[in-house]
Amino acid sequence: MNDEKQLQQQRRRDIAANVRQRFLFTGIFLILYSSVVLLYTESGAWLSQPFFSDYISGAVWLIVALIVIFIALEKLFLHLRK
């Protein structure tokens, strides 16, 4: 009976840790995602100029980077959850 109770408690602790990890990933994602909105404010205006090329603006680089980062975050998440 005690073992069963301990097992349940351990499971609940594990679940709490899992949920924290999920919310952490979600939080990181939302912070990155919100950078798109910054492009339309004064603080994001500097991304309008080209970077690493003559024409590819920082804004375009940001969109590309976000797509790649989102996929990488998912891969990392799956790896950590194996």
Partner: protein, 559 residues
Amino acid sequence: MIFNCKNFLAFIATLSLNLMMPSVSLAAGTIDGNIEQQPVNTTAIIMFAVFVISTLGISYWSSKKTQSSSDFYTAGGNISGLQNGTAIAGDFMSAASFLGISGLMFMFGFDGLIFAIGAMAGWPMLLFLLAKRIRNMGSYTFTDVVSLRLDRTKIRSVGIGGTITVVVMYLIAQMVGAGKLIQLLFGLPYETAVITVGILVIAYVTFGGMLATTWVQIIKAVLLLSGATIIAVLVLMETGFSFDAVLAGAVANHPKGEAILHPGVLYNDPIQVATVLVSMSFGILGLPHILMRLFTVANIQEAKRSVYVASTLIGYFYLALIIIGFGTIFFLYQQPQLFVDGKIIGGGNMVAIHLANVVGGDLLMGFMSAVAFATILAVVAGLTVSGAAAISHDLYAGIICKGEPDAATELRITRITTVVIGIIAIALGILFQNENVAFLAAMPMVVAASVNFPVLFLALFWSGTTTRGAISGAVVGLLASVILIVIGPQVWVSVLGNERALFPYNYPALFTMPVAFLVAYLVSKADRSERAAIDRQNYHDLIIRSEYGTEKALSVAKH
């Protein structure tokens, strides 16, 4: 085929915004006057005929494997993660994405990419937050998930209402857009196009269920990704594989010049951008036909893999669209024969097709036209399965039969419902032919974000959620969504003809979603009923299952 000057920009902006909906929302109602039919596109029709024949063959094969409701709703749970992920991507990457984002970028440059990133963004959150618990808690639909915890009858009613609302609104926008688009691409009469789409979908889904739908979506995804890749490569080949050169040419050609490379041509209000991003990303998390796909695989590992595969394919697609979008500017402005009175033939929706023609000739253009049609079929099929499941599984089996239906009767009802939904879709498409349905493309995403997602999230993650609180939040979310859309630009100005909108944003989920959450929270906190105690206890009783699943939950999907 020319859209008159007065509505051209409004058409591009509104239609293309709506075209970005994750499950293809084509809204053509902002076109003023009749669209003239294009000459019949024989190459496209032949290619499309090949697609239809092969997919009907698949539907026939699937019908032999679809012998139970479980087979119909979830393909027996035997789809692999890779297949399911590809199907999800096929369901999601619409003709609207391909044509609409390209059209937006052709007109406004960078700002069109807001919709690309918005459409991409729901998938990581689906994986991080919802996939596991939904898969472990449900069997066929997301309503199963919430009804496990809350009052089955009442919450199923909310779930059914949310599902049917989303499905019907999407279907109207889809069918109207399909009719208009097929007129443009194939030169077929509008009614013929709508009836053809409806009949094919009925054939696929009635006999083949989710299995046929899945394979139609997989084939379409492969075709669309291949086509997009070919176009992107051909665009880059013209400039020695220099994207910089593509942008240089685009800047030189576009009337707005360098402004197209950075934000501000279409949008300059960060709140406006935020409303779009929130509606799209959180809307995905509440779309019933997307969530349903989590149940078509054997276990949670495959479900998570599905989401990852879908996300990767969709991300790749939108990266290709960046090249295609700017490629349209680079190439099409060099083709004066494509313009009449300063406007591109066929309007913004045609730029990607024109580009396919310029870089790949008639063959590629015909191929992409056929793919666009196939895309519509795939998405309408997915919506139909979801709608049929809401009626036959959630309503008939869940509420009327209290969870113990006669299996054969349920399957029969499912098939009948599918036919009825198909007929309704055809009727709605013809009925709304000349109506301004642009707002109907915004509503599903906003409703999904403001009704379905809050209920789902709170039921899964907060022990304090009660049935009364969930229903209150859902009702308020729905009312807020409808009211703010009605008084917003799409309805108050475009449909009702007022001078100024009372609410300035087309996609109000940024406001309606938090309101729904707040109401659900407050009502749940104040709820002291007997049922509330049961609801709270259910969270604790089900927490282990929500994380670890059960053999029974798995076996239901595999049955």
